[in-house]
């Protein structure tokens, strides 16, 4: 495992150097940045090919049995959410083209399902030799929810019996559907997809909403509208409602690009276009500074032939916006699939609290010391974060206890 984490398979920080960020297309307060893969030096035929497809789920609600046992019967842990679609990855080792089974473009003969709930086994599941199904972004979200899910590992007196025995009872987080973000639907409609575009960076009021990258341009074309069905951080709903117009970045850079350029003949006018493109790339990368180059902690979920499926989180620094996400990475470190979700401040605080507790073996005094507060304050914070049920009642609310 140690050797593996040192290899390029596992992401240690996020950079988009292998991609070109084409100039953004703006609609109101939504800025959409097309992502294009830079031409590769290795012959593309030799490389293993990965194709992604969407398999749509009609049910309004899904339950995923995380341990793969029949759900609602033997399962100990379940994940509940609305899941609009699963992503199916197929790959070939020899560079032969592939298309994911169950994701062909064909006329649907299937009747719309009458079920109200869908039962699924595992977040990510192998389907035959070269095919793999996973639930996009839910995979990352489930990883986020499972952080410190086992509860205290030392039986300190403050914790309730059930906390010690069963760990955390349940964890839930809120997010918003893409349709709830004002203007996103229209922005996606009027967006002009580049011929070799393989991904998109979505900004709402110039705050990063999501990075979405797939491996093949045709897959992206199919999945373009699925950005609307994905879920986003809660704050983006409020950003979407703001009366803000994303500015033209060129104005911010330089209003007269030709000024500093040497233009001798008509052909030199190309330089203006090239300079503009470079400036756009730079400015747009600047907008993503909170995630680009930041240290991330990745965990490999499974290996898909020459690719590794992993989910990652940033360092939960309370001063910055934090992200979770998932990625498929090739042996040489190139990103073949990426999807991110930005956490709200409250979400960051919750998981930071749990992580700090876990770092101190769930010892309350020591944790309070690290967080520079008193034990009473820590208990209050735990209560506000929704973890009050882990602590014995008379400690949580001593005054009420005395009265009785």
């Amino acid at each position: 495992m140690k050797a593996m984490s040192q290899s390029k398979y596992v992401l240690t920080h996020l950079d988009l150097n292998q991609f070109t960020l084409a100039p953004s297309q703006v609609w109101g307060n939504i800025r959409l940045v097309p992502v294009i893969r830079k031409p590769d030096s290795a012959a593309p035929e030799e490389k293993a090919k990965l194709r992604l497809g969407l398999r749509s789920y009609d049910e309004p609600y899904s339950i995923v049995a995380l341990d793969g046992k029949p759900s609602l019967q033997d399962t100990s842990t379940c994940y509940y959410s609305y899941i609009p679609h699963a992503m199916v990855a197929t790959w070939s080792n020899d560079g032969q083209p592939h298309a994911a089974q169950g994701c062909y473009l064909k006329q649907s003969k299937k009747k719309q399902s009458d079920n109200m709930v869908r039962l699924e086994y595992r977040m990510a599941k192998r389907e035959g030799l070269n095919q793999y199904r996973f639930l996009p972004l839910h995979l990352a979200m489930e990883g986020f929810l499972s952080i410190c899910f086992n509860g205290p590992n030392v039986a300190w007196g403050e914790y309730t019996d059930s906390a010690l025995r069963f760990g955390l009872q349940q964890r839930s987080e809120r997010s918003v559907n893409g349709r709830c973000i004002d203007g996103l639907e229209e922005a996606l409609r009027v967006f002009e997809i580049h011929p070799n575009q393989i991904g998109m960076v979505v900004f709402v009021a110039d705050s990063l909403a999501s990075i979405f990258i797939v491996s093949h341009p045709l897959d992206y074309r199919v999945m373009h509208q699925s950005l609307l069905e994905d879920f986003y951080g809660e704050i983006l709903f409020y950003y979407g409602a703001t009366d803000y117009t994303a500015p033209d970045l060129l104005d911010a850079i330089n209003n007269d690009l030709a000024e500093d350029l040497e233009i001798q003949k008509v052909e030199d006018l190309h330089k203006i276009v090239d300079t503009a493109r470079q400036s756009w790339q730079k400015e747009q990368t600047g907008l993503m500074q909170e995630i680009i180059g930041r240290q991330i902690e990745s965990k490999v979920v499974n290996r898909l032939g020459p690719f590794r499926l992993q989910r990652f989180t940033t360092d939960f620094d309370p001063a910055k916006t934090n992200y979770i996400g998932e990625a498929l990475v090739r042996k040489d470190g190139s990103i073949e699939y990426l999807k991110t979700f930005n956490l709200s401040r409250a979400q960051t605080n919750r998981v930071r609290l749990l992580k700090t507790l876990a770092d101190h073996d769930w010892h309350l005094e020591q944790t309070a010391k690290t967080l520079e507060c008193t034990k009473g304050d820590l208990l209050k914070r735990l209560d506000h974060a929704g973890f009050g049920y882990l602590i014995k009642q008379h400690l949580m609310n001593p005054s009420a206890h005395r009265k009785n």
Partner: protein, 477 residues
């Protein structure tokens, strides 16, 4: 209408700006939905613009009717002029009358009757309006045909103007429905069609369609038998309707359809159909272009076209692929002009290069600056940019390239650059320019190209309103 210009420039300049803006709007706007805008905003914008121009430059407003603007705006101008009442000065009055008469003569009949309907709805019923409607109705060569095909509308027009509809026309329009036999053959056919299928097939397509439902005739059967009575536009329009029926097809004569209509039809076909009809289409294009180019002087030797085929050129559900059809039409026109030796050199520079120009689809981002630089590098005499102006890869750079070129090379290269834009922008009351310094003209049909080249030259050379008036008066004669 630009606040900045008021401070810096003379009144003459404003007047010219206003007028150019209005002519551009009149070429492009049809009050329909566009890719980036709803029909509601288009309606508000064009209505305001018409009122503004009518209020400030009434004479020019009327003269615009002669500028070859689109049908929608022609009928809107006639409507507003009639609603505003006759002008005081007698020479204006006569000129306006002539302009209105000519415009109505040039408009398709259905549009004219629609206009009369609007006049009735708005309760515009002054003496001039009644006279105009009456004169139009009297001037029609086959009133019986009009009465059958546009029955309700003709009825409206007659009641609105209190015209005397005596004889069979009156009985046909206002009488009890089955009635006694008519002497006029078409009225008689109409009367018989209530009972006889044979008579029904002798009626115009749109009228017969209603009877077909009444007689319970299947759609396939009906389309097969009515074909001889269809107009060319109906033939094109009903292609997809016919393809839904088994063993039914409607023949299209590619040679009888105008260039833009033909382009629109071609772009609506899928890959398979395009492959099947390709030869016919090429012949049709040859025919149309030869007809258009007869006696026309492009006036330049080397022409470059910067063609935008980005996804936004798809248009909207109301005007499907209209912008793209203009690009396609102009490309075909210039390509054939080159083959026929009307210009020495021609090349198209696409935003995203299509594999085959005949298999054109709206696709990709709007990258104008790159092909524009390539076009400039070829040093042609004329560069036409056809684009909706929504540049996004990278945005605003064409402006910078153009300014840099103008500063450094414009004098030595002697190239004319014209941006033709098929899409009306409601916010700015004109078409969206790629650069404030570039000549930007609205375009509705590819056929308008010769006129626009001429008009563009005039706009570049003259700057005052009086010249403009003279120019449009010249068109009138």
């Amino acid at each position: 209408m630009r606040r900045q210009s008021i401070q810096t420039n003379t009144l003459q300049f404003i007047e010219k700006e206003d007028l150019m803006l209005f002519v551009n709007a009149c070429f492009t706007c049809t009050q329909q939905q566009e890719f980036y805008e709803s029909n509601q905003s288009q309606r508000l914008s064009i209505e305001f613009l018409h009122d503004y121009i009518l209020g400030n430059y009434r004479q020019l407003y009327a003269l615009t009717l002669a500028a070859g603007i689109n049908h929608f705006n022609q009928s809107l101008i006639v409507l507003k002029l009639l609603a505003a009442g006759a002008p005081e000065a007698s020479d204006w009055k006569i000129e306006e009358g002539d302009l209105i008469r000519n415009a109505l003569k040039g408009l398709p009949v259905n549009r004219v009757f629609k206009l009369f309907g609007q006049l009735k709805k708005l309760r515009v019923n002054n003496r001039r309006t009644r006279a105009v409607i009456k004169e139009y109705l009297v001037s029609r060569t086959d009133p019986a045909f009009d009465a059958v095909k546009y029955r309700a509308k003709v009825k409206d027009a007659i009641t609105h103007t209190h015209m005397n509809a005596m004889g069979e026309l009156g009985r046909f329009l206002f009488g009890v429905k089955p009635g006694a036999p008519f002497q006029t053959p078409l009225f008689e056919t109409y009367r018989k069609a209530e009972y006889s299928q044979k008579a029904m097939y002798a009626l115009p397509f749109t009228v017969a369609e209603g009877f077909a439902v009444k007689h319970g005739i299947s759609r396939a059967q009906f389309l097969k038998n009515i074909q001889s009575n269809m107009t060319q536009a109906e033939r094109l329009r009903l292609q997809s309707s016919a393809s839904r029926e088994r063993n039914t097809s409607i023949e299209v004569d590619f040679k009888k359809t105008g260039l833009t209509k033909l382009s629109l039809y071609w772009l609506s076909l899928d890959e398979k159909m395009r492959a099947a009809h390709r030869t016919k289409m090429e012949q049709g294009l040859d025919h149309q272009v030869t007809r258009l180019l007869q006696g026309m002087d492009l006036g330049t030797r080397k022409i470059a076209l910067v063609a935008d085929r980005s996804y936004s050129m798809w248009g909207s559900y109301e005007k499907k692929q209209r912008p793209l059809a203009v690009v396609f039409g102009i490309h075909q026109l210039l390509q054939r002009a080159n083959q026929q030796g009307l210009c020495d050199w021609y090349k198209a520079f696409w935003s995203v290069k299509p594999k085959d120009a005949m298999a054109l689809t709206p696709y990709g981002q709007t990258s104008i600056s790159e092909p524009f630089v390539k076009a400039l590098s070829a040093r042609p005499d004329l560069i036409l940019i056809v684009s909706d102006g929504a540049e996004n890869d990278p945005p605003g750079v064409t402006d910078q390239v153009f300014r840099a070129w103008k500063q450094n090379f414009a004098e030595s290269d002697n190239t004319r650059v014209i941006h033709l834009n098929p899409v009306y922008n409601a916010d700015s009351f004109t078409v969206k320019p790629l650069s404030g310094e570039m000549l930007t003209l609205g375009i509705r049909d590819a056929e308008d190209l010769p006129f626009l080249l001429n008009y563009g030259k005039f706009v570049e050379e003259h700057s005052c309103l009086a010249d403009f008036t003279e120019y449009l008066r010249g068109k009138l004669k």
